[in-house]
Each structure stands twice: as structure tokens, then as C-alpha cells.
């Protein structure tokens, strides 16, 4: 029957036709415009468990943009922030890069919170060619890339390699028996920090006596902590977020083990004091910027603006202060680079990065960046700060009774 022969199209004939047609159709990709728009893109966790991080980055950026625009903007144009959600998922981050660069045609973009996402973005940022300024995610490999070819990615934030050295220094210098242990979360961030800490220890001629990991939402860390206790560590480095940090402290309490020194990466800079209570007292936490305690004039000024715009009562209300400060400085550096470049041309702006000197919240950037992979990170270790939890407040170490 003739109608049944309609089934014939689905035979291999048409399939081979399609294949031939497809592979012989080659159209060149359109090149992107030379002049970009005065928007700053950002891929941030707007939703999900890390929403507080995305929020912080957006806050810092928006305050900075408002200040810049109030003074007339950049090259006569007003800046705007285009923040897209990546919910901590690498593919979304990768898509956001393209959206920002090709669809919105922004002049540059800010990096986000999750190291895993930024790592995924590297290839795309290089492919597309857009200046990227990280604001939080600290994994060393984001900036110091394995192929040594990083041309577009910069960072105004902590570098985990340096953070590790900083924390190791803090731990070892305080340790009496030089037995140091590391507790790290089983995520991109934690797994990235681990080799950095190991390397930093090795540089001091030491080894970690215990290396334990845990998952997000874990409730009880006693098995890991028993091993740490048995290894005899008197100093512990913690690479975790507040929630797990609290479980660690309580776990220690349960097994009657309290190391003399606990130093932590900035994951414990949120509400550890609130949830762990007295157990948090004396825990030292790394930050790039501390909003509590005495602020300098610039900090005071920005704090007032934060208070007004986001309804914050005290600096304790800030969930991730380092992120706000990093992002603020990042936007200013970017704005100055655009001014210096004289046009909204991505390559020119990128080249201008190396010529920016800027007196920021976190540091005196002199210059912000240099032409080595290592120095695509703007914040040098000398500007790293140490804070301590005391009676529910996270204060600069000097303003607490701890040493």
C-alpha cells in the first residue's frame, strides 16, 4: 500500500543524506563586537545553600557601582550589575559566562562564590575573551592554571595557596608539639585546599599528623575527631563552613578533646559564634576584611552605606564580610581599568589591569596585578587578617583576649 511506504523515509537513506548535509554546512562564527556595554556581569549563587555568599558579592558590587555612578560613571557611562544565578552548579556558571559575554556583551564579569564553578568557567572565559575578576572563590588553580596560559582571569580575593600558608603559619607558630591536623570539607573548595595545606606544611619541614574529611550536613564528626585526638594534635586547621564547624567543635566537646589552637579558613566567619556558643571562643578565622571592631574611615563610610541600603543593624549581621569587601574593591579596580583603557574594549581593559594602583578596603593595591600567573591575584598575603570568635562576636584578634 502506498501510504505504508511512507515509512521508507525513516530508513538509512535519509539519515546518510542528513549526515552529509550537516557536515558539509560550515558557517563561520560571528565575531563579537569590539565595543562592549557598560555592564558588569556576575555569576553568583542567588539561590541555594550558598545564597548568603552570592548576596554578599552583590552587595559589595552594588555599593561600589552606586558610588562610581554618583561621580559620573565610567567614561561618561553609568555602570550596572547583571547578576545571574548559578546555584553552585558548574554548567550554569559556564552558561552564564557566555550569556554575559555574548548575549549581554558586558565589558567584564565578576567571579562568584563556588570554586567548582569558577574552575569550570576557565576554558570558556579564555575562549570568549572577557576580563574576569574573581571576588570570592579561592581555589589556586582558578588563577594559576595548569597550562600556564591564563590571560583573562584575575582575582581580588584570597588565594587558597596563600591562605593555606597563612593558616599553617598561624597554627605552627602557636603549636607546642608541632603536631598539626587538618579537617576539610569534601567539596571542591575543601579538596582544593588540602594539597595547599600539605604543601605549606612541607615547606616548614612538617607533615600533618591527621587529615580528615566530612560531608556537608554531616551531624556527627566523632569518628574523624577520635583519629585526630589519637594522633595527638594540639593545633587543628579547619577548612569548613559554620554549620560543619559547629559540629566539629561539638564533636570535640563530646570526646573531651580541645586542641590548644584552632585556626580556620573564612568559612567559619559567618555565625559560628551563634550556633556553637562558648565552644567557638578562641577559634581564629582568616578573613580578607573584618567589618566588626574598629574600622578606618573608608570602611566606616562603606559600612554606613551598607547599613542604609540593606537594613543591617550591627556589623555582626553581615554574613560574609570578606566577600563584600573583595567585591567592592574588585569593581573599583575594574572601573579604573576601564578609565585607563579609554574605551569599553575588553582587550584594552585587560591590559590596563596591570597599571592600576588603588587604595582599597582590603589592601593598598600597588599595583593590583602583575604579568605573572601568580600575581593575577590582587590581595597579597600581608593584607590577610586574622579574627577570633569571642562571646558570639567575631572580632579582629587584637580586640579579643586571645593571642
Amino acid at each position: 500500500m502506498s501510504k505504508h511506504n511512507k515509512l521508507y523515509p525513516f530508513s538509512i537513506n535519509i539519515l546518510t543524506n542528513t549526515l552529509v548535509l550537516a557536515t558539509s554546512a560550515l558557517i563561520s562564527v560571528t565575531s563579537f563586537a569590539q565595543q562592549a556595554s557598560p555592564c558588569i556581569g556576575a555569576s553568583l549563587p542567588l539561590t541555594g545553600a550558598a545564597a548568603f555568599g552570592g548576596e554578599a558579592i552583590a552587595m559589595g558590587a552594588e555599593i561600589a557601582i552606586a558610588e562610581i555612578n554618583a561621580k559620573g560613571g565610567v567614561l561618561g557611562k553609568k555602570l550596572s550589575l547583571k547578576a545571574y544565578d548559578d546555584a553552585g552548579q558548574p554548567p550554569k556558571g559556564v552558561d552564564n559566562v557566555r550569556r554575559i559575554a555574548l548575549s549581554d556583551n558586558c565589558i567584564a564579569m565578576l567571579g562568584g562564590y563556588h570554586s567548582g564553578v569558577q574552575l569550570a568557567m576557565r576554558d570558556t572565559v579564555a575562549q570568549v575573551g572577557i576580563p574576569y575578576v574573581g571576588t570570592t572563590a579561592g581555589a589556586t588553580a582558578i588563577i594559576e592554571q595548569e597550562n600556564g596560559q591564563n590571560k583573562w582571569m584575575f582575582r581580588v580575593s584570597a588565594k587558597d595557596k596563600w591562605v593555606a600558608q597563612f593558616l599553617v603559619e598561624q597554627a605552627v607558630s602557636r603549636s607546642k608539639n608541632k603536631k598539626v591536623a587538618l579537617l576539610y570539607e569534601n567539596t571542591g573548595w575543601g579538596n582544593g585546599g588540602k594539597p595547599d595545606v600539605e604543601a605549606a606544611m612541607k615547606a616548614k619541614g612538617l607533615n600533618l599528623v591527621a587529615l580528615e574529611t566530612f560531608n556537608w550536613n554531616d551531624v556527627d564528626m566523632t569518628p574523624q575527631l577520635l583519629r585526630v585526638k589519637n594522633a595527638g594534635a594540639d593545633s587543628v586547621i579547619i577548612w569548613a563552613l559554620d554549620r560543619e564547624g559547629n559540629q566539629i567543635l561539638r564533636g570535640m566537646d563530646k570526646i573531651s578533646y580541645r586542641p590548644d589552637n584552632i585556626v580556620a579558613a573564612w568559612g567559619l566567619a559567618g555565625n559560628l559564634g551563634e550556633i556553637a556558643g562558648k565552644l567557638a571562643n578562641g577559634v581564629l578565622v582568616f578573613q580578607t576584611y573584618i567589618w566588626t571592631g574598629k574600622l578606618d574611615a573608608k570602611g566606616e563610610d562603606v559600612w554606613k552605606k551598607l547599613q542604609a541600603k540593606y537594613n543591617l543593624k550591627t556589623p555582626q549581621d553581615i554574613k560574609f564580610g570578606s566577600g563584600i569587601a573583595n567585591s567592592y574593591d574588585a569593581v573599583y579596580i575594574l572601573a579604573q581599568a576601564i578609565e585607563k583603557a579609554g574605551s569599553f574594549d575588553r582587550t584594552k581593559v585587560r591590559d590596563a589591569f596591570y597599571e592600576i594602583n588603588y587604595d582599597g578596603l582590603v589592601a593598598k593595591y600597588q599595583p593590583a596585578f602583575e604579568k605573572t600567573q601568580e600575581r593575577h591575584d590582587a590581595i597579597l598575603p600581608k593584607y590577610y587578617k586574622i579574627s577570633a570568635w569571642h562571646d558570639g562576636k567575631l572580632l579582629p584578634l587584637s580586640e579579643t583576649p586571645y593571642k
Binding site: A49, N217, D218, V219, T222, P223, R243, D253
Partner: protein, 291 residues
């Protein structure tokens, strides 16, 4: 030796959480062969509401029952509007997706209003740990398995001795026959879901001091609790409670002797394996089909 005791103690604490959540699923399933797939979010709701009320200065003693009450209302509404319309379908996709969808909405709403940060619920029971044979555990943590066994006991009494309880059991055995006997099946199902929701809210309040209240606290717990209920044989309440405790202890021993990171991979593989061997659950009953 004290390590073993530690694994065991921590294990029954976390295991009791699984037991209770599994029990909630069991109560729902027995009533209508369908559950609120996002039951973990009911747990979250109980915890979050209590923290909010306490934050407003309402004493804990009063905050708790109010939170539980809201959970009951939430649970009954879910049953009426998101589960009941779909129970006639064979695949179960209807109520699975509807309850998941509502769970997503609740979770994101809580994230936006409550914040993504975990907030504490302070009770005197987490101030100092008790030391047993060299291992430490907070009284709050010990409270959970005690509560689990007590609740199970009360639940069984309820099913056996009260009229409503027996009516619910009848609905669980044979909905149509129960209806024909004059039992208001819809009401019994709604009550069951209400009980499960009350339990869920209670679990949230119980664990909030230990786990901290956050929008995402219920997700993995809910999944695990459901899986455990199923491998135990979801209609067998005692089996579910036992299975939860066993699973919790197993998790701790895996962490103790193998590694913490392997915990989920091994744990869920065990779940799959057990379901291969016991498709109706270990303590479950095989159902015969008549033609």
C-alpha cells in the same frame, strides 16, 4: 573500645532520626499508598518555625506546639490537595511530582525569608555532653532514640486501643471495605497525614539543636528516611524503626573503619542491594495478586 562505644552512640542518635522520618513515611503510606515525597521539608518547617518563634521572644514551651500545629495543617492540606487527587494512578508520578513541587516552593520561600544560613535552637540539652564508657553524647542526641521508641509504643497503642486508630488501620488494610463499613476514609487519611506531619514537626524541633535549622536541612534526611522505610517494609512500623537504627549505626562504623567520604556511596549501595534481595522490604509482606 571507647571508639566503638562512640560509633554506637552516635549511630543510634542519627539512626533514630532516620527511624522517625521513616516512621512518618510509614504512617502516610499505610493510609493511602502515597506519601508526601518532600516530607523532609515538614521536618524543616517544624525546626524553622520554632526558631523563628523563639527569635520573637516566645518561650520554647509555647513555640513548640504552635510550630507542630502549623505542620499539622500543612500536612493535611498537602494530603487533601496534592496527594489525594492522584492516588488512583498506578505509577505514582502524580503525587510524587506534586509533593516535590510544593516542597521546592516551600524550601525556596524559606531560603528567601529565613535566609540560607543555618540558625541555632538553643536548649539546655546541648550544653554539656554525657560521657558513657569514654564516649560522649549530648542529652539532646540521646533524647531522639528514646523519643523514637516511645512514639512507636504510643502509636501502636493508638492503633490498637482507640477507635480512630483502629479505623485508620482498617483503611490501611482495605480502603474499600473500610468505607463500606461506614468509616470516613477521607477523614482517616487526612488524620494519618496529620499525625505524620505532627511527627515531622516534632522531629524538626528535636533535631534543630543538633543540626541547626536551615532551609535545606530536610532534603537528604527525607530521602534517606524514605529509602530506609522502603527497605524495612514500609507498612511495618517496628521494622522501620529498627532499620533506621541499624542504618545509622552502620553509617558510623563505615566512617570509623573505612572513611567518612565513602559513607553515602556504600550506604546507598547497600540500600539498592537490600531492595534487590527483599523487594517487599525486609520485614514487609508479600502481596498476592488474584485474577
Amino acid at each position: 573500645m571507647s571508639s566503638i562505644v562512640q560509633y554506637f552512640l552516635s549511630g543510634i542518635s542519627i539512626g533514630a532520626i532516620y527511624s522517625l522520618i521513616g516512621l512518618g513515611f510509614s504512617i502516610m503510606w499505610s493510609a493511602s499508598r502515597a506519601v508526601n515525597f518532600a516530607y523532609g521539608d515538614v521536618v524543616m518547617l517544624g525546626a524553622v518555625l520554632t526558631v523563628i518563634f523563639v527569635g520573637y521572644g516566645i518561650p520554647l514551651i509555647i513555640s513548640m506546639p504552635i510550630a507542630v500545629f502549623v505542620c499539622i495543617v500543612y500536612g493535611v492540606l498537602i494530603e487533601r490537595f496534592a496527594v489525594a487527587p492522584f492516588t488512583k494512578e498506578v505509577t505514582g508520578i502524580g503525587w510524587m511530582l506534586s509533593t516535590i513541587g510544593i516542597g521546592i516552593m516551600l524550601e525556596s520561600f524559606v531560603t528567601i525569608s529565613f535566609g540560607s544560613f543555618a540558625k541555632p535552637l538553643v536548649t539546655p540539652l546541648i550544653e554539656k555532653p554525657i560521657i558513657i564508657l569514654g564516649a560522649g553524647i549530648y542529652p539532646q542526641e540521646l533524647l531522639i532514640p528514646i523519643f523514637a521508641v516511645t512514639f512507636l509504643f504510643c502509636l501502636e497503642l493508638f492503633y490498637q486501643k482507640t477507635l480512630i486508630g483502629r479505623a485508620i488501620k482498617a483503611v490501611a488494610y482495605n480502603q474499600m471495605a473500610a468505607g463500606l463499613m461506614g468509616i470516613n476514609v477521607k477523614l482517616m487519611t487526612a488524620i494519618s497525614f496529620g499525625i505524620a506531619a505532627a511527627l515531622g514537626g516534632g522531629i524538626g524541633i528535636l533535631i534543630a539543636p543538633i543540626v541547626q535549622a536551615s532551609a535545606t536541612m530536610g532534603l537528604l534526611l527525607g530521602l534517606k528516611g524514605f529509602a530506609i522505610a522502603i527497605i524495612a517494609g514500609i507498612t511495618n512500623a517496628r521494622g522501620v524503626v529498627i532499620m533506621g537504627l541499624v542504618y545509622g549505626i552502620m553509617e558510623k562504623f563505615i566512617e570509623g573503619f573505612i572513611s567518612s567520604s565513602a559513607r553515602e556511596a556504600i550506604g546507598f549501595s547497600v540500600i539498592i542491594l537490600l531492595l534487590f534481595i527483599f523487594p517487599q522490604g525486609i520485614f514487609g509482606k508479600k502481596e498476592m495478586v488474584k485474577v
